[in-house]
Subunit: 410 residues, 2 copies
């Protein structure tokens, strides 16, 4: 039993985000690079969801505690809208309002996975899910998946080969962050069958459910036979309505286990601020046209990137990113060293290792963080840097050592 | 390794709040009882902290992600104000913004206590701390304390008798929820000496730091020799500024361990909504007069309750509650049965068992949840019910069985 100054097992398992190693350099640059490393949008949220629109009446209810489960009016609006989208069997007791998708994934993993369990994380994955799993004392079992599937690999074979006796839970994300894969109906069915066959819980991160591009289409995996009781479906106003700053997500599933997830959540945050819930309710009730327009804009950006980014990647079928294999360009150069050079060249992208330990020589490029004209400038800078790497040229740069800024880490 | 439908060890350790057993009855009553069971204030927050005041400019920064550590301007405002109050050595890197005191206690316990550790919780205590400790896989070691100390018991003797080899962390709260105890300088020094002597971490919940009533005074335990490095000090806008609905707290301490606590917090909520941070910043920068007035109102209420509540309790020295030993009145009657009768009689109070398993025949009475005229009505109802119990009379009531509504639980 370690006491002061020793810290807990849980906290010692958590690492800072890889990108933070680049921050000291970023802060020293005379001009901020164009930000393609982030996971957020340049779009402004729906007008009805503006905070000034939901606070003008000086509603006294905004200041005391509110329901740990979430406001009934918001949960009702969610049920109606997501029922319209096709999610079956939705009722208010099956919806819990969380602090973003982060809070929802956190509560779901803590509810399904005990310390020592393996959580099968289909990779490349949303970076925080690894740390969340570690913080639960569980083991993130990273399964290279989406890039293999896009390359024609069989879903069932990939999953069966990765299964361990300790696996209790699977984490899947479609449309996927970081690579824009949208699973087909057949692929999704194979994931579902695997969960049913092995009595596994499923955490289905559907943060980008509103941003699948035809002919790809978002489908609700919880609708498949045998899945409703075992699936935690997760949604977020961050991606659906450009409201990341309000930190509001939805954890959806069977009221039986959801009651326990609610207790987990109550002990972490008690309730979500009502002002944020009011804004998201307005977005849900009035934001359909906004969502259609946002999807069209993201799709245009994704198409432009697919045609113009001179790198090795699968075109996005949804979401907000492409994930590029730059091993050919990097040669012996550590990925983070190139990302530091890129900052100097005026564009920032995210290191692949954040999305899975198998992806150290990949990078994630966000195409929704800038309007198209600026996105084009950023991608051109990225293309020039990749061309420089291919020609084996050094960065033309006179300044403090980039290596030093990385602390020797790759 | 249990799979679906088995749930995790962590979630299975968490229980719903005791008071929820009364909710079905509460919902059936023709008129809502006067609410003295809650932990919130009737006061409106400082005008400058109203959400309409901080959202009128349509600040675009409110909608994207913001810093997981908290907004620098808020942290700076906190440092200045709390330095003025007397907390020493405060710097921005030593302040982390959390989702309420709940988020702060959650992050602190997860950072200090490993699974299997004992966390010494001085009782009676804020109800969520027990579940938070359980959710970390640690053991809540409940130490009857504040009532013993008010009765003249020696702090050091109480603590030494309770210490186990597995203890890594102590949780203390002053001014205390639920009993209004404010530790004296000598008592606080004894707690500090105990932590130093046994290499223990200290979580000092100072949610009610602005509400100690003279001659009692709030003192910062982190200022004592040897305490700064081992103390997590916790504050909240919920109690300081009547902003519970905004869910904003502060976790304060040495930047070394705080960096790990920040990682824990980042994996639970990512960041706190900036709109809430802006409102609390305004409260901190302009709310001094408001705080003085609020304290005066609470102190008046506490004085009135001390003189007029006909029960066995120590007068509040701070905070917002008194904690009453009603074992004499209850006789053989289960406490929850009486609380159900009280609902029918028009007043709700909180069951003592929520504040520690040694306090099953105690109740918490909040005196800050109603303006004084209504508080007086509520206390008179409470007095009448206590008198009825003392006379051995039954509740005059014709309606559905109260026992049935409690599910036979006491």
């Amino acid at each position: 039993m370690p006491r002061f100054p020793a810290l807990s097992a849980e906290s010692n398992r958590l690492q800072p985000a890889v990108f933070t190693r680049l921050l000291p350099l970023l802060r020293r640059l005379p001009e901020a690079p164009l930000p393609l490393h982030i996971g957020d949008t340049f779009l402004e949220p729906p007008a009805a969801a503006r905070l000034s629109a939901v606070t003008s009446s000086e509603d006294r209810a905004l200041y005391p505690y509110s329901s740990p489960a979430g406001d009934a009016a918001l949960r009702d609006a969610f049920c109606r809208r997501w029922t319209d989208k096709g999610l079956q069997g939705l009722e208010i007791p099956g919806v819990h309002v969380t602090v973003g998708a982060t809070g929802a994934v956190q509560a779901a993993i803590r509810t399904f996975a005990s310390p020592g369990d393996d959580v099968m994380i289909l990779a490349p994955f949303w970076p925080l899910v690894r740390g969340i799993t570690l913080s639960c004392g569980a083991n993130p079992l990273q399964v290279p998946f989406y890039d293999r599937v896009r390359g024609g690999a069989d879903v069932t074979a990939l999953l069966e080969a990765a299964l361990t006796p300790q696996t209790s839970t699977v984490y899947v994300c479609s449309p996927n962050n970081p690579d824009g894969t949208v699973l087909t109906a057949a692929q999704q069915q194979a994931v579902a069958d695997f969960c049913v066959r092995h009595d596994l819980w499923l955490i289905s991160d559907e943060a980008y459910c509103d941003h699948a591009f035809a002919p790809a289409a978002h489908r609700f995996i919880a609708n498949l036979p045998g899945m409703s009781a075992r699936t935690a479906s997760i949604y977020t106003a961050s991606k659906s309505y450009a409201l990341a700053g309000l930190r509001l997500g939805f954890l959806v599933g069977d009221p039986g286990w959801l009651e326990l997830a609610r207790r987990v959540s109550t002990h972490q945050v008690y309730n979500v601020p009502l002002v944020c819930q009011r804004a998201v309710q307005a977005a849900i009730e009035t934001g359909d046209a906004w969502v259609q327009d946002a999807r069209a804009q993201y799709e245009s950006a994704a198409s432009w990137v697919a045609a113009n980014l001179d790198a090795r990647f699968q075109p996005a079928q949804g979401g907000g990113y492409v994930f590029c294999d730059v091993s050919g360009e990097l040669g012996d150069k550590p990925a983070l060293t190139w990302l530091a050079e890129l900052l100097v060249e005026g564009v920032s992208i995210a290191p692949g290792v954040a999305f899975g330990s198998d992806y150290e020589r990949w990078v994630r490029v966000c195409y929704m963080s800038l309007p198209l004209p600026q996105l084009k400038v950023a991608i051109e800078r990225l293309n020039r840097s990749l061309a420089r790497l291919r020609r084996g040229e050094s960065l033309a740069y006179e300044g403090p050592s980039l290596e030093l800024d990385l602390g020797g880490l790759s």
